[in-house]
Structures are given as C-alpha cells and as structure tokens.
C-alpha cells in the first residue's frame, strides 16, 4: 500500500448488494474493495438485501460492519402482464404486500444514510439491490450504481430494462469499461462512467511457464464455454503430444463435458482437476491460460493469470477482455466462438517458449495498471469529483 491520503477520519462508504456473502465475482470484488477502503481510514458498511443462497465464509475479523435487511428472502411475485395478470387478485395482494415490505426495508436504509457524515457514498453493486435504494431517501448521500457485466451480457438478460429504469437518476453509473459505458450512454443513461476491477492478487514471483500444462479455471457452466475449449483442444492435442489441458472447476455441465471430452478422444490429454481454492498455485503450475467464455464482464481469472505472468488465449467476447488483453502484445485473442482460430493461437504458444515468455512478461508488467492502489486512487478521485 502506498502513502495514505485519507482525509480526517475518512468517509462513510456503504456497499449495497443483493447479499453480503453470495458466492461469486461481485461479492469477491466488494469485500476486496471494502477492505481497501477501510484500510485507508474510511468507515465502511456492507449491506445485503437478503441472506445469500450460496454463502461463503466471511472470516473472523472484518474491518467493517455488515447488515442484511430481510431475515428470509422475500417471495417473488410475477409482474402484472396483460389484462389477466392485472385482474389476478391473489397476485395483486402479494404484490402489495411485497411493496409494503420493500418500503419497510428501505426505511432502514434511509436511517443508515441519514446517520452518515456529510460526503457519504453509497455504492450499489447490483441493480436488484438498487430497487430498495431507490425507495430510500438518498438526498444526503452520493449514490454510485454499478453494472458488473458487459453491456451485451446485460442486454440479453432481464436486468437490462431494470438498469435503465433504476440507475437512471443515480449520481454516477459505473460500467466496467469505457466501451461498455459508451453503449449505456447510447441507451440514454447519460450519467454513465466506468471503473475497472482491481487485481485480486499479485504474486511475488511469476510462473516459470515451463510445465506442459494449459490451465482453465471457472465454473463448468455453458457460459464459461468449456465445450468450445474442448473443441479447440481437439485440434491442438494431436499435434502437441505431452501437453495436458487442466480444467479447474465444477458445475452442472461437468457430466456432459466429460462425455464430450471422451467423444473427442481427449481423455489422455485432459485432466479434470475439480474446484480449487488456490488459483495462484494452479496458475504457477501453468504455461498457458485459456478463457473460452461465451460472455464475460471484467474477468478476475484473466487478471490473476496475467498477474502470475501466464500468457492467455481468450475469445474476444466482451469489452473487458480486449481492455485487459492487448492482442499480440500481452496475450492472444480469437473471434467469438471461432474455435479454429482459438486453437491456432493456442498452438502458437505451445510451440514457442520464447513467445510464452515474451507475452507472459508483458502481461505481468501491463496488468499492473489495475493494481489495488491505482484503482483505489481512481475511486477516491471519483468521490471528490462528484462533490464539485
């Protein structure tokens, strides 16, 4: 950590998320940021709307407090669509009850915000949580909304309409990249800006890149594109005996993927590693990292791999990816879904230790633009700017 510049006593910073400790990228990110802000003398408080459905352990001594509004997850009620929907009395009653419950929980937020010192900032990490913040009185605080996925991924989801509705009047809406922010501006969210994620870790030593292991880390879910990775690997493996593809992660698609692996005749060159709690170790042991996702935001795994000096091959499916990787300079990109080119890029790395070293070293160097002190500085600059 570099020099401390926190102002007297720091700021009150609230994180409001769907849940405080839901397994996944957003919670990982928010606890990392919360800790960084707390370390700089800010008073951080983390709010979850509901208890998590897949919790993770928070650890003993958090340097900030946490609150969860609901004791149990509020029941979901379908929206009133068409005449039938509007006339459904049971649903109407449930909707009314839910709305009342929301008001009650929003009032808790209002109390927290009112007690905060001037200059307080509320960071809403997910748009669902924003529905409660929107009901609360935020006149005394600065509200920063966030969308932690690419514009395109959001556009294909149910969140798209809600982002446009609930984030319309926040003081600043943050996308992950400039390119995503521009796309939101075209949707007439003219309050949009962007903020990249910080590096989750930065190992003291880079990978040697001499093992004959290609590494993939991620849930075994179709969005992560492991099936595409296997397609590509089937082009590569026969030409590069001795190399192994190590797939870390578990998930609902595991069985289908293992079947595909067998059908492609890859059982001898693919190792199913299961879930890992030590991504750093997995990466240290890798010579090449692959990210075959169909959709992404600002992938932490890519940041981790590059910080470890492992050269990466990825499908260019999101602005976040081309923001992180400079194609040919510190990693390699393939057009979305083009497994032939992905395979060719991968092969070029397997065949050439010198290229691996060059790209890997450049990756480790360049990726430091996302080191934590730099990202914290950008956040603090933003807070100051929003006060002008």
């Amino acid at each position: 950590m570099t020099e401390q510049t926190a102002m007297g006593g720091g700021r009150d910073i609230f994180f409001v998320s769907n849940a405080v400790n839901e397994l996944g990228g957003v919670a990982t990110w928010s606890h990392q940021m919360a800790r960084l802000f707390a370390d700089r003398g800010n008073l951080v408080h983390m709010v979850g709307i509901t208890p998590p459905s897949h919790p993770f352990e928070l650890g003993p001594d958090l340097p900030y407090g946490t609150t969860t509004l609901y004791d149990v997850h509020p029941p979901s009620v379908p929206g009133a669509h068409g005449i039938k929907g509007k006339l459904n009395l049971a649903d109407r009653r449930r909707r009314a009850a839910r709305a009342e419950g929301m008001q009650e929980q929003a009032a808790k937020l209002t109390r927290m915000f009112r007690q905060a010192r001037p200059g307080a900032v509320v960071i809403v990490t997910q748009v669902w949580a924003m529905e409660w913040v929107a009901l609360a009185d935020t006149s005394s605080v600065t509200v920063v909304g966030m969308t932690h996925e690419s514009f395109e991924a959001c556009r294909r989801s149910s969140r798209f309409g809600r982002v446009k509705r609930y984030y319309k009047d926040v003081d600043r809406l943050l996308a992950l990249t400039r390119e995503d922010a521009d796309l939101w501006a075209q949707q007439r969210l003219d309050n949009v800006d962007f903020m990249p994620n910080p590096l989750p870790f930065f190992p003291a030593e880079p990978s040697q890149r001499t093992s004959k292991h290609v590494v993939s880390i991620g849930r075994l879910h179709e969005e992560k594109g492991t099936d595409l990775l296997l397609d590509a690997w089937s082009e590569v493996a026969p030409r590069h005996p001795g190399w192994t593809l190590r797939i870390y992660g578990t998930g609902s698609d595991e069985e289908a993927l293992r079947r595909q692996c067998t059908e492609l005749g890859l059982d001898g060159s693919v190792e199913w590693m299961g879930r890992t709690d030590d991504p750093e170790g997995a990466l240290q042991d890798g010579a090449v990292f692959t990210l075959a996702s169909r959709g992404e935001g600002f992938p932490l795994s890519l940041l981790e791999a590059m910080a470890t000096g492992v050269p990466c091959v990825a499908f260019d499916v999101a602005p976040g990816i081309r923001e992180i990787i400079r194609d040919g300079e510190d990693g390699l990109l393939a057009p979305p879904g083009n497994t032939l080119i992905f395979a060719r890029r991968l092969e070029s790395l397997l065949a050439d230790q010198e290229l691996r070293d060059r790209l890997g070293d450049a990756a480790r160097e360049n990726i430091q633009r996302y080191r934590t002190d730099e990202i914290v500085r950008r956040w603090e600059d933003l807070f100051t700017f929003l006060e002008r």
Binding site: D182, D193, G295, G337, N338, T339
Partner: protein, 954 residues
C-alpha cells in the same frame, strides 16, 4: 472560480429564458455559473435576466449589449470576455442543457486534457405530438474518442458545425483569439471550424449534452430555416469561403475534400430543392453565386456523391436550366426518373447535351442505374404538370406529361389512365377522374384530365384535410402510378374550389391547390364562409381538448391492436393455439423454395414429378412478395406468413422446402418434413459456424429444435453427411441418400449426350435468342456478406464490355447473379451478354451452358454432373474463405478446373477453355464421385415412390 461558465444568449425571448437558465442551475455538476447576455431585446428579456441574477446571487450574472447586433456572434463574444470559469459552454435561450452535460464534459476535459469537448446534440421537435427527437449526427458520437487533430475525423468539422454542444477551455479561446464573426449569418460554421482547427486535442463523448428545440411550421421562421432568401445564400457562400481559406492555410486538403463532398451532397440540395418554384431572376443570381463557389470544388468530389447530385451540380455549372429542372425534381424524390434519357455508344446518359465534354460524359452516364433494363412498373417515372386551370367554382382542368424513358413505351402501345385524389392521412376514400386524353408524344406521354371537384370529391372533413393527386397509367397491361409534380406551374394561384364534406360545409367549404414538401400537387381543405371559419376555430379548440385527447388515444390503441393482430407474434400464437388444432389433411403438401422467392430447385422437381406421375395430391406453394410470378397455376398459392400460409402448414401432411420453414413454427407430429436443402457446402455451416457456437444454450437449443423438425434430409454424398448433417446435428436416420431432385435433369442431359454423342439445346436457347453458332458460358457467382451478415451489393468483378469485345463472337455469356443480388448490363453488350438472374430456374441454365464460371457457389457440385469445363474465378479467396470463416476443404486443391484470381487470368482461362477441358477431365471425375455419388438421376422418383405412391405415406 467556477469550473464552467455557461453563456446564455437571448433576444426577444423572455418567456423561454428562465427554462434555459434553470437547465444550467439544475446541473448535477454544481461548480457552474450562468452569464446571460441580452442582445438589446425589445421585450422583457433583460428584466427577466436581472430577476434571475437577483434570485441566484453568485451563480447568475446578467449583461445587455448597448445596441442590437442582429446575430449570435456579438453577445457570445461578450460572454467570453466576462466569463470566469475554466471552461465555457454556449446555450441559446430557447434550448436546454442535459442535466449531466457539465459533469460529463468537465470529466472528459480533465481526463484527456482536451481544449475542446464535444457531445451529442438532440433536436427536440416541440410541436410533435409524440415527443419526436432526432440525434444530431449520431455516428460522430457513437463512442468516446480523443483526437489529437481534427484531421483524424474530418466528419466532425464537415457535419457538426454547431458551437453549442461543446465545452471550450477558456484559456484556449483567449490564447487562440477565437471569437464569433459579427454581422454575418451562419457564424457557428466559421467559429466551430476555427475552434476545431486550433484545438490541440479534441474529446468526443457519446452522451447527450444539448437539446436543440426545433419549432416546425412556425410563421416567422428562424434564420436557419429561411433558405430561399438570396441574402442568406450570400452569407452562406461567404462563410464557406472563409472556412476553405482556413483549411487551405493549414494545408488540410483531405478536410477540404470531405467538405466539398458534403457541399455537393447536402448544402447544394437544400437550395436546388426550391429552384423549380422560384423565378428566373432568382435562379440566375443563385447560379452565379453557386457557380463561383462550385468552381473551387475538387473535381474528384463528384465521384463521391450520388449520381443525381453530381448531375445537378454539373448542369448548374453549365446553367443548363432545361435539363437541370427535371434533375432538381429528381433530387427531391430519390430514385425518380424525370428525364427521358438517351442511349449513345452502348451507354445510357441523363441528357444528350455535354457529352463531348469528358467530365460531362462521365457525370451524366447513368447506365449503372439500370433504367434501360428494369421493368417499367419498377421505375418511378417523373410526371410534370404542364397546365392548370379552374373555373373558379369547382372544375379543374389539368394537363401533364410523364417521362417515356429511352422511348421504352412504343408509339403503338395501348394506353389508358385515370387521375386519383387520395386522402393522405388515413386514405379512407379515394376519387377517380378518367383522363380526357392520353397521347404518346415521343419522349413523353401527355395527359389531360378534367376533375369536377365540387360535385365528385366528397371528403369526410376534419380528419382528411390533405388530398394527394396520383396518375395511374396502364401501359400495355403494366400498371404504372406516379405523383404529379407541380414543376414550374404556380398552382398556388389557382382558386379555392367549392367542396361539400360529408360532415357538412360547416367543417370546411373550400379546397385549395397546394404543393407538398416534395413538390407534388395536392389539395387542402380550408374555410371561407364566416360560419365555417368560426366552426373551424371551434374544432381546432376541441381537438386540443381533453376529450379529443382521449378519443385520439383510443384511436391509436385501436390502430395498434390492428397492427398487433397481424404481427408475427400473434400469428405464431394463432398457429399453435388455433390452427394446429385443425385436422391434418391427407395429401396436402406445402412447397417452398428459397423462402418463397421462387418456384424452383428440388421442391419444384418433386412437384413436377408428382404431376408427371399423376399423383393425387393437393399442392400449396408459398411465395414471398406482393405478387407471385412464375408459380404454377394449378396449385394453391399462399403468401409467406399470411394466415392462409400458416393454416396450410398447420394442416399439411407434407412440408417440402429447401431452406427452412419459419423456425418459430412447430411441426406437428402428423406432418412429414422433407428438407431437400439447396446445395452442398464448401463454407462451414450450422453449428460449425463461430457465430452459432458462441450463442447461449437457450438460443442453440431453439435453433436445434428448428432443425430437428426435418424428418428427412436429402444428401448427395458422404461429404454432405460429414459437413451439413454434422453441422446441423442431424440424426443418422434422418438422412436420405437419394441425391437432389433438381439434379435429375442434369444426369438425364448427360445421359442423352453420351447416347447421342451430341449436345442438344432446348427451347430455352431460342427463348434467350442465342446464336446457335456460339458457345454458351454461364457466369454464376454466389453472394458475399458483410461481417454483420448483410448481403453486399453486387458488382461484376470483371469488365463485361471488354469481355464482350474479346469473346463476343465466339461465346454468349449468361450472367446469373445470386437471387439476393442484382446486376445491370450496359446496352453495349446486348446480344453478347444476357442477364438470366431472375425468371429462370437454374437447372435448365446449367444444362444449356457449355462451360461454367463460378466462384464458391454450390453450383460447382451440381455442374460437375454434366462433365463440362469449369473455371473458378475466386478473386477474393482470402477474404471469402480465409481463416475467419473457414471452409470444409481447400477449393484450390480440389477444384476441377483452373482457379484464377484476376480479370486477365480469367480471360486467359476462357481463351484456353478447350485445352483445360481435357486437362481437368480426371479432376472432374474425382470431384463428381466425391460430391455427387448419390445423384443418379432418380431422386424425384425415389421420393415420390417412398412417400406418395407406396401407400404408406411415411
């Protein structure tokens, strides 16, 4: 010091000033001051400004110029001098700033260090009933960009000439001595150009920053709207000259060129539009001014604009009013053909004059537009009013002349016609008046009509105020409809005529001739009697009332419901919930080829075979477009996506097509789907395509469900099994190894040829008037798509005139463009090159051709069955088959004929065709065996036997 000074200028606009100022005070960025500069208004503007200053001490300052300056320059300059902020923004008193404008522009300025930040402006139509807004040059503002120099993005200077949607570093303005010119209109053009050129860095942001409120139909038009005044034009030319000087000084040639192109494309159009309606003095003065400016425009700029724009500029330069007037008319309505054209030396020209001048010949050449080949009813023919007279009461006598392009309407043609009056908005009623005469006058068709408007035209009133006039002609059975352009006839001086609306004369009692925005004759209902005038006032008021609002809303709702009823979504629902409950009809077969575009291909071959064998079945053919052409008369024809189509599909026993019935329609279990497919694959297909692989699971599953509807999928070879069947993930038991029915004809032709030792030309050769002494070459390329998947415009990749010149005596060249493309041949190749793109099925053409020139089209796999020579003209192989898309095999390795990449090589290959024929005989045999092993000439018979005559039906 505030971050931003917003300079609000005002002149006689006291009412709107507070709104403009409030939009600044409401900025999310708070470090902002407002400077109001009043240009010595005659109303209360300055007092309002002072009140705003008093109400917002320290945030608003009010200034007044000692005397009126008559423009925007002087007050803005005053504002710059008084401003304190780090940045300066200009705002007009009738506009508003978007609430995040200052925050976004300051953030961009600080992030980039730019002298100038520009954001998107939106035009807000304040009179619009539906809140119409239009983004101002959105393509410039689609993404954030930082320019180190304006030369990186000439469009910015050329198009966005506003000074208001921008944020300037104040020091930058002062250092550069930038100020607005005073005493001249269009000061923004010069100021923004100077600022762009002077800025060392420019930042563009996609955020909306400025709302430009636009008032349409205002009685006192604002400066920029009063185009027809010559004084304005003088100012405009002067400003253009000064900007050009600036660019020249800097040596910015490319910028100047881009600006020239824009002048021809846009600026000139604005003025030429009005020309037909203006008098000779004005025209002459205008031409003088314009021509002295046009002389400074780069001659190359003409090549960058639409042909008609270049033609207008050229004719204006020649002051050739006779030819310019119709051209200017065509400029207003794109695509309209207002000149009879001439053909000379195998090319088509706009007019016969100026062709000795090389520039003239180049600019006036309109061969590529295809006016000589497109059917008459596909041309938008110019129709100019030549006489107009009324009796002052109710009768009008009109005369006009319709262009007869290239004399295509022959002197003996049978001509009839009528004039139609049609309400513009709802088109509830129309009234027809027969022509009193219609004569062929060589280069025009002249008509006369008499309309007794007072007696025959019965508008409803109130809702059908505007009436358009149409002329409908029947030329030898071809229907041609045109609007009537007022031309230089001053119809406005015609008398208001009596009219009797169905809602009584109280709503209106007169109908007046008028000229529409596009220069066409129309009529407008008006009021003349005192009672009527009063009623109209009442009606206007009532139309603005709450009750009228409710009525209009319900009307809109009703219209929307009617639209919904015919929307795809509703149709799909009706198909599944209603039509699919109807019983399946035995023997009902729905055929479709290329999504209804043609009666062709394997579906046609199966249909023909069923007919030939006299099978008892009920055929339905699907067609796309307004009118089916070329479809069999003894089948039921249904338009694609009509309810009749959906019903036929829902009840059919068989679906037979070659591309895919709409994927959203579920096939019933009782229906058998025979997918013939339309060609073997060179390029990767289906789920082998990257864009399919990258889709999410729900989308892939949806696509797969569409493909899984195929009960039988025809394949021609094991290559198809490895490629198409795998790419579509089809089950092995769905594959029917029968070959393509469309190819039966080819196999039969080859059989006859071997048997008789001679190649016979069928009736098609005679129909195409092909010289029996000449060999026939068929050029059939496939289409090319953009990376986004849109079909690219097709242009012949070789000089067809050179081809005809060199080979015309030996060969007749048939050109078959892909059905998604069109081709235009110049008259010079008549008889030597024939366009067979539409109206012919492909198989007979293949049989007719003695050799085939193609690129990547799947026709290569079919033509190989004939064992005749082929040339592969793959001038864009890398781009087409390159690594980004991938092919199933390398064409260059397996091609059964020479693969050439240039025009010269193509011509060489054609010259060497005979030797290539024998050289590639072995390759052809291998190719045919690999890609057409199941094409044995019995595909249609096999299918008819399997599904229709064996009795099983499955």
């Amino acid at each position: 010091m505030p971050d931003v000074s917003v300079i609000v200028i005002v002149y006689n606009d006291a009412d709107r000033l507070p709104t403009a100022v409030q939009s600044v005070l409401d900025q999310t960025h708070k470090s902002v001051e407002v400077l109001i500069v009043d240009d010595c208004s005659k109303d209360r503007s300055y007092e309002i400004a002072q009140e705003l200053q008093a109400a917002n001490p320290g945030r608003v300052r009010a200034f007044q110029l000692p005397q009126n300056s008559g423009g925007c320059g002087a007050p803005r300059n005053h504002g710059i001098a008084e401003a304190l902020g780090t940045y300066v923004i200009f705002l007009d008193s009738d506009d508003v700033l978007e609430e995040n404008a200052c925050r976004n522009m300051v953030a961009a300025a600080e992030r980039t260090g730019a002298d100038l930040v520009s954001g998107m402006c939106v035009r807000v139509y304040v009179d619009s009933r539906h809140g119409k807004t239009v983004d101002w040059y959105p393509w410039i503002y689609s993404t954030s960009r930082t320019l180190e120099s304006i030369t990186e993005m000439p469009d910015l200077l050329v198009f966005d000439t506003l000074s208001t949607n921008k944020c300037y570093r104040r020091e930058f303005l002062l250092e550069q001595g930038l100020s607005f010119p005073v005493g001249i209109h269009y000061e923004d053009l010069l100021f923004s150009a100077q600022a762009y050129v002077a800025a060392r860095r420019i930042a563009l942001i996609p955020n909306r920053v400025y709302s430009w409120n636009v008032v349409e139909n205002a009685s006192a038009k604002s400066i920029s709207n009063r185009r027809h005044e010559i004084a304005n034009f003088v100012h405009r030319m002067e400003i253009h000259r000064r900007v050009d000087e600036l660019l020249e000084e800097k040596g910015y040639e490319d910028l100047k060129f881009r600006k020239d192109v824009k002048f021809l494309k846009h600026d000139l159009v604005l003025h030429l539009r009005d020309l037909p309606l203006l008098d000779n003095d004005y025209r002459h003065e205008f031409a003088e001014l314009a021509n002295s400016y046009l002389a400074t425009i780069s001659p190359q700029a003409y090549a960058e604009v639409q042909p008609i724009q270049a033609i207008c500029a050229y004719l204006l330069g020649k002051e050739d009013w006779k030819n310019l007037m119709p051209a200017a008319d065509a400029l207003i309505t794109p695509g309209k053909l207002t000149a009879p054209l001439v053909e000379k030396d195998g090319r088509i020209y706009w007019c016969a004059e100026h062709l000795d001048d090389p520039d003239g010949a180049r600019i006036l050449d309109v061969t590529a537009a295809g006016y000589h080949t497109r059917p008459l009813n596909k041309l938008s023919l110019g129709n100019r009013l030549t006489s107009y007279a009324d009796d002052g009461r109710g009768k009008v006598r009109l005369g006009g002349s319709v262009v007869n392009p290239l004399g295509r309407v022959k002197a003996g043609a049978e001509l009839t016609g009528a004039l139609e009056f049609r309400a513009r908005r709802t088109s509830l009623q129309s009234f027809r008046f027969p022509l009193t005469s219609l004569t062929h006058a060589g280069r025009t068709l002249d008509w006369k009509a008499e309309a007794d408007i007072a007696r025959k035209l019965r508008p409803l009133g109130i809702i059908d105020v505007v009436w358009d006039v149409w002329l409908h002609l029947d030329i030898d059975g071809d229907a041609v409809s045109t609007r009537v352009s007022a031309g230089s006839i001053d119809v406005n001086s015609g008398h208001p005529l009596h009219v009797r609306p169905r809602l009584s004369r109280l709503v209106s009692d007169r109908i007046e001739p008028s000229v529409s925005k596009k220069g066409n004759l129309s009529y407008v209902l008006t009021a003349s009697g005192a009672a009527t005038v009063r009623t109209q006032g009442l009606i206007e008021e009532a139309l603005r009332s709450k009750a009228a609002g409710v009525a209009k809303k319900s009307l809109r709702k009703a219209r929307r419901m009617k639209k919904d009823l015919n929307s795809g979504e509703t149709k799909v629902r009706v198909y599944h919930e209603v039509l699919s409950k109807l019983p399946i009809r035995k023997g009902l077969v729905v055929f479709e080829s290329h999504m209804g575009k043609q009666f062709s291909d394997s579906p046609k071959a199966i249909y023909d075979e069923l007919r030939r064998q006299g099978v008892d079945f009920e055929p339905v053919w699907s067609y796309e477009g307004a009118k089916p052409t070329g479809f069999p008369k003894d089948a039921t024809l249904v338009r694609r996506w009509s309810y009749a189509y959906l019903r036929a599909l829902a009840q059919a026993e068989f679906w037979i097509d070659n591309q895919g019935f709409p994927a959203s329609l579920t096939k019933r279990p009782g229906t058998t789907y025979i997918q013939t497919w339309h060609g073997s694959a060179l390029k990767r297909m289906g789920f082998d395509l990257p864009q399919m692989k990258v889709l999410g699971r729900p989308e892939r599953e949806r696509l797969q469900r569409g493909l899984d509807r195929f009960d039988h999928f025809l394949v021609r070879s094991e290559h198809d099994v490895r490629t198409l069947a795998r790419g579509f993930k089809l089950r092995e038991d769905r594959l029917l190894r029968a070959g393509y029915p469309r190819n039966d004809e080819l196999v039969a032709a080859r059989g006859r040829e071997i048997e008789s030792g001679a190649r016979e030309r069928g009736p098609l050769a005679a129909e195409l008037k092909i010289d029996p002494a000449k060999k026939i070459l068929l050029y059939a390329p496939t289409f090319r798509a953009t990376p986004q998947g849109a079909v690219r415009r097709f242009e012949l990749p070789f000089d067809v005139e050179a081809f005809a010149e060199r080979f015309g005596d030996e060969y007749t060249l048939l050109i078959r463009s892909h059905y998604l493309n069109q081709v235009v041949l110049p008259p010079s190749v008549r008889g030597k090159v024939i366009d067979v793109s539409s109206g012919y099925d492909i198989s007979p053409l293949l049989v007719l051709a003695d050799a085939l020139i193609t690129d990547y089209s799947s026709l290569m796999f079919d033509y190989t069955l004939l064992d005749r020579p082929m040339i592969f003209f793959t001038y864009d192989y890398e781009e087409y088959a390159g690594e980004s898309r991938g092919t199933y095999f390398d064409l260059r390795e397996k091609a059964p004929g020479p693969v050439v990449g240039t025009e010269a090589a193509l011509f060489e290959a054609v010259a060497e065709l005979k030797s290539a024929d024998t050289e590639y005989a072995g390759a052809r045999e291998r190719f045919a065996a690999e890609f057409g092993e199941y094409d044995r000439g019995t595909a249609a018979q096999q299918i008819v036997a399997k599904f229709f005559t064996s009795g099983s039906g499955k």
